[in-house]
Symmetry: none
Subunit: 221 residues, 2 copies
């Protein structure tokens, strides 16, 4: 994430036209392409912004942000730069690729303990009559755990896992099967719903799983 504090004039044209006269503002460039222009007051909303996908061109004293497939355009004329810093906030949050869910599944299949203490893999793609569960594990107490893996944990991911659990528990020997939702990022509302249904949530870091980076905290300390 790049944070620029600068005296600047900002012009937006697209669905409407807007001009922000020259003043000190915060420019926020997220690695997903989002751009936001905040002033010190004005509350929650940015004074100006562009949502992804965007193309950002920077030249001397000027930054132009264009919407990838559209007409929208943000022209930022920089009069004075007070501060310009870039923070690496973790690649896992920044990168979003299509094959991520599959890679997550492969990595978690190799290291199911990231989904819960003492977990060991029984099989990937455990079949149920309404579709396969991503991972089926057992823990040290020999309890069953169904793991649903997503890039982004949403309400519908919780619903999906709930449906699987409903089917799985019909088998008397798996009547106490638990559920775990594992994702790079889990939406707050999905977390609430999962908790209400007794489903555990685990956020996993792709870089850590790959062994590219050390975990920030000792697991299960």
């Amino acid at each position: 994430m790049r944070l620029v504090v600068a005296r600047c004039e900002v012009r937006y044209s697209g669905r409407l036209s807007a001009v922000l006269p020259e003043a000190l503002r915060l420019l926020m460039f997220k690695s997903d392409g989002s751009v936001m222009v905040h002033s010190d007051a004005g509350g929650y909303k940015p004074e100006n912004w562009m949502t992804p996908p965007t193309v950002i061109e920077e030249s001397e004293g000027e930054i132009v942000v264009r919407k990838l497939g559209g007409e929208d355009r943000l022209d930022i004329r920089l009069a004075e730069i007070v501060s310009d810093v870039t923070h690496d906030m973790g690649e896992a949050a920044a990168l979003q690729k299509d094959g991520v869910e599959r890679e997550l599944q492969e990595l978690l299949a190799d290291a199911p303990e990231w989904c819960g203490e003492g977990f060991r893999l029984v099989r990937r793609e455990w079949p149920t009559d309404i579709g396969p569960v991503d991972l089926m594990c057992r823990d040290a107490q020999e309890d069953w755990i169904a793991v649903e893996i997503k890039r982004l944990g949403t309400i519908s991911a919780v619903e999906q896992l709930t449906r699987y659990l409903e089917r799985i528990r019909l088998d008397p020997s798996m009547g106490s099967c638990r559920g775990v939702l594992a994702a790079q990022s889990i939406k707050p509302q999905a977390r609430v719903l999962a908790e209400a249904r007794g489903i555990d949530c685990v956020e996993v870091d792709l870089a850590v799983l790959r062994g590219e980076r050390e975990p920030d905290l000792t697991l299960f300390a």
Copy 2:
């Protein structure tokens, strides 16, 4: 404006409960009391926030943000502070916008003939007991026409105008009042519904209304 880049865990409780696991994030404290928690991805919206008025208490390794008159509360547990800077941004001049519904209404009030041939304005914000109609006009035959103005013409705009007409026509002298939906752009489904209800649709071009550009077609050719 204070900008803190920190590894932190954030808990929100209020209208719902949410937990953001420990990760690197940007904390933004505006001088109007707004607090926003941004991650590097996730687009326009903060992961968590509090709108003013707020009370902010800071102690060692923890920041608590409370809503002044309410229950809402944000607990930020700081694990590691990467950066913590405060910028005095003074006050930024106000945003100048145009192309919003207000401007459309002003332009069409000055030139109601764009809403229909021979239209002349009787008054803006014509009051009914369920709210004001944007424009009330009469045409060459002295017929009444209620005009609803939107930036984007949707189903709900047609519904709104229908409700107004329903009220207006209760007045015997206006029993034959017609309706016109004027918008920069009108959704096909809204157009269908409007037609079915005998409401005329007019797409207006902002640049033409402003006199910046000639109309593509002769009106009422």
